[in-house]
């Protein structure tokens, strides 16, 4: 456990994972792979073939229909919610769309995980939120609710929220979609800074921006028809 009560993560692996929504066909079918710790994994493939679902399963947002997700060798699908919380706080997940609490202001949305888990003192939290809001030029909108701001800002705030918790693993579902070029650039700089500081070690992401993962020396993971087709350096 580190100072925040979060659990250090040494390994993440999926074993024979299958997942389908409701009674429908399987979106992931027999996925077995490990996540390269300390590296960037760029999950890619044809649209609608299970990349986002792969990230959801990886972040344990949905329970696999069969198979297991092993974090530090333990099958987390068999853990209770409470047992999983220390690991959960170390794996940040950013939503492709939605994910902000509509009856809370942007400030309250950013503050909720810290206040709920007593991660930071109120002063430190306030400073951190205002600093990041100023950096991304939305400090004037902090007290507004999600419905009162643009979809781009909603996306930015929902992406920044897990990052403020300083996770060591970040699972990002198309983090730059819907952001203006300047904000997207700044977000990339922030992620690179977090990696350089050593807090953020591993990133798994889907992104339409092929250049940036390449710049981070990302390892591509090609998913097609719910299966890992190949893994390694892009051709």
């Amino acid at each position: 456990m580190n100072r925040l009560g979060q659990k250090s993560i040494h390994s993440i692996a999926m074993q024979n994972v299958a997942f389908g929504y409701g009674e429908g066909a399987l979106v992931l079918n027999g996925v077995t792979t490990d996540i390269p710790m300390g590296k960037v994994l760029h999950v890619t493939g044809p649209t609608g073939h299970g990349q986002s679902t792969f990230l959801k399963v990886l972040a344990c947002l949905v329970e696999p229909t069969s198979g297991g997700i092993f974090v530090n060798g333990e099958n987390v699908t068999e853990m209770s919610f409470e047992e999983f919380v220390p690991i959960r706080l170390e794996i940040g997940y950013t939503f492709e769309v939605g994910g902000l609490l509509s009856n809370k202001s942007l400030y309250e949305n950013l503050a909720l995980p810290h206040l709920y888990h007593n991660l930071l003192s109120a002063e430190d939290l306030d400073q951190r939120i205002h600093a990041v809001a100023k950096r991304f030029r939305f400090d004037a909108f902090l007290e507004r609710r999600p419905a009162m701001v643009s979809s781009g800002l909603r996306k930015l705030v929902s992406t920044l929220r897990p990052m403020l918790v300083n996770p060591s693993v970040l699972v990002m579902d198309d983090p730059f979609a819907g952001l203006d070029p300047e904000t997207a650039r700044e977000l990339k700089v922030l992620i690179e800074e977090m990696r350089a500081s050593g807090d953020l070690k591993t990133i798994c992401l889907t992104s339409r921006d092929e250049m940036w993962p390449g710049r981070l020396n990302a390892e591509p993971l090609w998913i097609e028809s719910g299966k890992v087709s190949y893994r390694g350096k892009a051709a």
């Binding site: 409470e82 994910g99 902000l100 206040l115 929902s158 897990p162």
Partner: protein, 274 residues
């Protein structure tokens, strides 16, 4: 014979579904309280803020409507009963009639119906929309248990609100009853108070607590369960809201009827009639 078997199958299936529904509901209540207990050192302040918001919305904001209904119910009860009682010369029975009609029966039932109409629908649609907007998933990702952060505060706030609203309903009804009886019979205030005080018993307190606590629990459990049953599409939200209203009305009225029935059976046993 085949038709009979088909009918038996249908009844059996319905009963099985009902049992699954009740079991699921009871499990949700248990898990909500359990997770809130586990999280008591974590997000307690956050949970309390949701409890107070629920009390504000259900209890405080529901007061104007309850006031109107309570005044009307008290007035109507007195008007109807005094018309009959004056024929028999039994004005002193007013207290008994008000306690039986208002405190024991109408108070819990009308309050529950008001809460279903205002808050049950609101909670079911709010939770349904939260599901659609992936807010429930967002809570899970943050390590915030949806049952402790969403369901538990609504159950607790809902029960407190129903108890307070029902008490308020009774109080205002009795005031309404007094205003009408004063206008009709020129009844002295102390005579009215004395008549009520004589009519009240410990049983009424037990009945009040029992009916209102469980009505609140039923309404908000049904609303939460229906709201959280939304899968992913916004068109499900009005459907679950309507279902929450119907289920809550059926459950609350059945429960009230059952408690009243048991209460009077108990009275008969006490009197040695049964």
């Amino acid at each position: 014979m085949e038709i009979l078997l088909t009918q038996a199958d249908r009844v059996g299936f319905r009963l099985f579904e009902l049992w699954r529904y009740i079991r699921g509901t009871a499990l949700m209540i248990y898990l909500a309280f359990r997770s809130a207990f586990n999280d008591r050192k974590l997000g307690f302040r956050q949970i309390l803020s949701v409890v107070s918001a629920q009390i504000y919305f259900t209890g405080w904001q529901g007061m104007p409507l309850v006031t109107i209904l309570a005044l009307a119910a008290g007035g109507i009860a007195i008007l109807q009963s005094s018309a009959q009682l004056s024929l028999l010369g039994g004005t002193s029975m007013l207290g008994n009639i008000l306690v039986v009609i208002i405190v024991r029966e109408l108070g819990p039932l009308i309050t529950a119906l008001v809460v279903i109409a205002r808050s049950g629908t609101a909670v079911a649609s709010e939770l349904g929309n939260m599901r659609v907007n992936r807010e429930i998933e967002a809570l899970e990702v943050m390590g915030v248990h949806p049952l402790s952060y969403i369901v538990f505060p609504r159950l607790l706030g809902g029960v407190i609100s129903v108890l307070c609203l029902s008490f308020y309903f009774n109080l205002i009804s009795l005031v309404g009853g007094f205003v009408v009886s004063r206008a009709i019979h020129d009844l002295p205030f102390w005579f009215y108070v004395d008549s009520l005080a004589t009519a009240f018993s410990m049983d009424d307190v037990v009945l009040f607590l029992l009916k209102n606590t469980f009505s609140g629990l039923i309404i908000f459990t049904v609303a939460c369960q229906q709201g959280l049953s939304v899968q992913s599409s916004s068109h499900e939200v009005p459907q679950v809201t309507a279902r929450a209203v119907v289920h809550a009305i059926v459950a609350v009225t059945s429960f009230n009827l059952l408690v009243t029935l048991l209460f009077y059976l108990n009275q008969l046993v006490r009197l040695g009639i049964l």
